[in-house]
């Protein structure tokens, strides 16, 4: 694990819980903080088998170990600008990677990583955690199986309220780096959560944007990057889409979701009711799929990702653990070991697409008109 240490990390501990909970993996190697001494002491305190002062030493030492002793994969939980370095290094030595999103801070770096993944054939996942919820996975399976006909429109959204005041000015570490273009990239809200919303279009609807128009606003006075982000898009099959992300929806929790509108039905998922998927068909009762119900109706591709008997809710940790599970199974398969079939969770192409999407959005927001999304978006 690179990053994720210290008392103020949002997602270090969740990744550790996701890794540990299934009793199939251990915390092996850690370079958890930017300061080398903190990095070593955090690794000790958090029971990592091996601590390192920084990611460079982690990657060089681990890759020098014989296979079977070295880490199976590297989890990257750093601010956006520190994803590329360790990812490139790990991939270069053939070590698999699970990286936090967005993939990088610009499209060029994203494509460099993609080239490495493809040439070295190394498993790579991007932590679009919401795609790990079984009900989002079910949305994908239903769309792919034709349950709503041909997709005509997709609405994806992500509403938060935590930046409705200028918390970066109060020394909030999470708010600070997100408001700093050098660390976050050219888009604040778009990069941080707009990419999550966009990936729903790729993952659940199986489509991608080819042309878009964006409005990016800094609503809170004094904030250099956007905290409100809206995109109108045209998708590769001719469908239309909207992607709305906002960090200034005062009082909102973490309300992301997607509505996929097809010729014969509509699917709606919202994180606020993460354990439900709504399926509307005209002239029929609304169907509510519930993760907690007797899930004998779930497709075989999803059942290996459930842990509890019917009626016992699994939440964010398990969604994240499902991504680790997919990577673990992908690695096992690459080694020729037996493993369940891993699900199609977001990989390097989705990471690149997220960056292309943001780059087009930034360009459009500046010009005020429609632009083409770069190749791979």
């Amino acid at each position: 694990m690179v990053g994720g240490g210290g008392p103020k990390s949002f997602f270090g501990a969740p990744h550790r819980r996701a890794i540990l909970m299934d009793n199939t993996a251990e915390l092996t190697a850690g370079a958890l903080r930017s300061n080398p001494e903190d990095s070593l002491s955090d690794a000790r305190e958090l029971f990592f088998a091996r601590g390192y002062p920084d990611w460079r030493s982690l990657v060089s030492s681990e890759s020098a170990l014989p296979e079977g002793e070295r880490i199976d994969y590297l989890t990257i939980v750093t601010p956006n600008d520190a994803h590329f370095g360790p990812a490139e290094a790990a991939l270069g030595t053939g070590i698999a990677v699970l990286s936090e999103k967005p993939l990088t801070t610009n499209l060029d770096e994203a494509r460099q990583l993609q080239a490495l993944v493809l040439s070295r054939e190394v498993p790579f996942l991007v932590a679009h955690t919401y795609t790990g919820y079984p009900m989002v996975m079910l949305a994908r399976e239903l769309v792919m199986g034709g349950a709503i006909g041909e997709v005509r429109k997709v609405e994806a959204w992500y509403r938060q309220g935590w930046l409705s005041t200028r918390r970066e000015a109060d020394g909030n570490k999470q708010a600070s780096w997100r408001a700093d273009p050098a660390k976050a990239g050219a888009s604040g809200c778009g990069g941080d959560i707009g990419t999550h919303a966009y990936i729903f279009i790729r993952f659940a609807a199986g489509l991608h944007a080819v042309r878009l128009l964006a409005r990016m606003k800094s609503v809170v006075p004094g904030r250099p990057l956007d905290d409100d982000f809206t995109v109108l898009a045209e998708l590769n099959n001719g469908a239309i889409a909207t992607v709305s992300a906002s960090q200034i929806t005062t009082g909102a929790e973490n309300d992301n979701g997607v509505r996929i509108i097809g010729t014969t039905g509509t699917l709606t998922w919202s994180h606020i009711r993460f354990d439900e998927l709504e399926h509307c068909v005209g002239g029929q009762p609304v169907r509510i799929y519930r993760q907690g119900a007797d899930t004998s109706y779930l497709p075989g591709s999803i059942r290996p990702y459930l842990r509890l008997p019917a009626g016992h809710p699994e939440g964010f940790h398990e969604a994240l653990a499902n991504l680790h599970r997919t990577l673990e199974w992908t690695i096992r398969r690459a080694r020729g070991e037996p493993s369940p079939q891993p699900f199609a969770h977001p990989g390097i192409a989705d990471g690149v697409a997220g960056m292309a999407f943001i780059e087009a959005a930034v360009q459009s927001a500046r010009g005020g008109g429609w632009v083409d999304v770069p190749r791979g978006g």
Copy 2:
């Protein structure tokens, strides 16, 4: 209309709106208040064609008019102890009746009315308004059509909070007569709203109680009648049931509902989401029937009771108007006039059953054990 006048009547105005809204009936004759002068002036102010000082003169005058000029039916909106008199008088002259519930204040009077209805063959309805909601009607149709198999258990409830303080001591008219055994009968909460809950068992599940055990409590100090009422029952097909009614659920609105559990499925309706009916079947997505949806799936027996295009909610007034509609259509049919098929809304037998249910409950609550429900319960 008998009763329902004055500024403090709860349900006089709703009945008037229910009568008027469909443009198929008029306010013809009114004896709206206990004081003769108020009665006459209220009838004028409320645009009744003919005002009367009291229900006796109303019934005698109207019954003396030639058919076609006299009222089609009498709506009774008085406190419980003043249901029997006008109902008996109207039935005796062959005038149809829509009476507020509970039917009377004791079982004997209820049976007298039943005898009159049967011997004179006069249409008679009891205002169990909640059975007028299309989604409750759908529950009945689904049960009757076998959608949930054989019924094994029914839970019916009615929770209110408005009597969680001693409002009868503050001069609240509605609270006062409900707390007075002479006006309300032997049960307060049970008679007022427990009967509503019990009728769900008869109407929606098509069953009735044969044996029961009751707990009746006066929770608020100083109140002579029960304000909390719970019954365990055995039904005629061997199924079990619970009927819970409470007026002291602080902050509750008007939360009545029913859950009907069958061998193959469960139906749940709650007044809080009156426009939805939930149908659970193991191993399948939950189905939500919505009154406002494209209702082409509703059975033909219910569609004549809908007024608005899909997606436009109808509420309590329309549920009440549906009972008036059923009575109107029943009268038309009795006269050999063309009319849609009236739905099986609660009639005299249900009114009698409600009184038998209450009488058994009072007896059980006193003795603390199981008792048989009198014939007709």
Copy 3:
């Protein structure tokens, strides 16, 4: 009443119920259909006191009657292209008007009506029925009272599914005129329901658009007008807004709503839960205002619009009746008669604003960029 007759009218009967239910008005004069004979026979069958062959004769005859005998106001329930004529005629003779939306089929006509209303000082209301729901009225009062601070963003939406197939090709009358530019105006979805969504911004947030960008699409093949309509807007106080309307959200009922995001809180209302208003404030429990609750907390400006005791839902008919109530009270006040204070329901300025909004949207959608909203938008 002009229009609203015949077996296929959507909203004629709802308006009649809204007029009748409160027992304060009667159906006086009707010119209900385009064919003069049908118009006369419908008026008879629907118990109008006076039937007319067409709106011209209705207006000329009624205006010739002495005050006190002629109609108090004219309700216009025709397709969009037939709003202007009867409205202009009625206003010209000083008769008040409640017109269906959108006000006209173009901005010029709208301004002509506005000039008449202002010069003749005649009461005029536009039937933006959703503003008649008490919870939408409460949203306005909370915003005006500062409950969410300064408004920063408004999201308004309207999702329907009934045009997800080409029903206009099947002879559906409601679908046909809505798909015909000559009858509907330059925008299909935008004019029909986009205006409803936009008016939430004016009514509930008290703001209006000054600049906008629109995407208008005909998603269903062969449809000449837009069936999906999305607008990004800048409001007069600098806030941003989105207005999304769609008729191709397969399986959706009538899901319109608004989210108003302020510096200190967010209000959300959706027609699917029309009886609730959600108020989110960071660091506090979510507050759910419920129309059916003990509504002693509602402001005095709203309470005269409630009809039922707590816990008894009022729906679409009552929302519509509330607009009639506002117009009735406005007329009474104009005559110097006693009346409760009418609420600020949408009037002529809102009707003009809706047309300006649509006109700007059509212009933007053609050009693909941002445009200024004409004066009065």
Copy 4:
């Protein structure tokens, strides 16, 4: 850990995840299955540090190890009849215990364990997992803090549908032992889930039953134990209560919950929306506390039990992990080590009370009348 091995265990794996996820504990010693060989091989496969053939050898070997090397506490995940043995043995050697519920199969054994816990002063917890949800903990804190005044009534329920067919006849292991009086005790549904519901009364409302009346039914033909269980109770402060548990609510998931009605407010929690707590007060908007919201409003006693930033749902595993956390902190405090304040999760007295409650219910159901709950209920 005793029990919880094998492919058919419901709750072995959840306990292991709960133990591992927080990175503060390890799987040390296991006697996971009834067959000694399976027990040893399962311990190996599940990465326990030390495997044992049975619980006797586990307790004797572990207790012989020096403190610091032996297990900190024993988790018991066996069928009901196998709780007592290992619990008694562990307590006898001073080893702390977290036992699945119900505590034992009869009241006598429960009291023996209680005597041991008291005399030896050993930490002991019963796995009433639902009390580990932060919103249930909040309910308790609100009641204790006077937020709803004096408690007048409690409704507790638990509805499942998985035994609506005779699954024990199909070889379902979980269904089989639950239907066997020798393994499950004198009550099936009551013991298995009725105790969960009853504990809500003790935990969230801080009250207990002193007198009760029960109906216990075997609804599914051929089942020797009750699958439907209803209790009316009187509580120690004079309040009334109902406890309803059912395993035949076809299609129900795992719908347990509690409604606590006080003189000034009502709290309602349901497992179906485990992340919400509803607080109703007359004349005020409903307040929805959400676990996922900005939880700065949560009392300090609950915050140490939250793991994720606002808006990220924690589910059943975390609720269970919260009980392990409480036991761990209790042990640390008992040793004089620093630790956060453990919450008042159910301990030995609650386990005894559950057995007293069931014993009284069985007695009442046989006799058909009210009975006193034995001391400690």
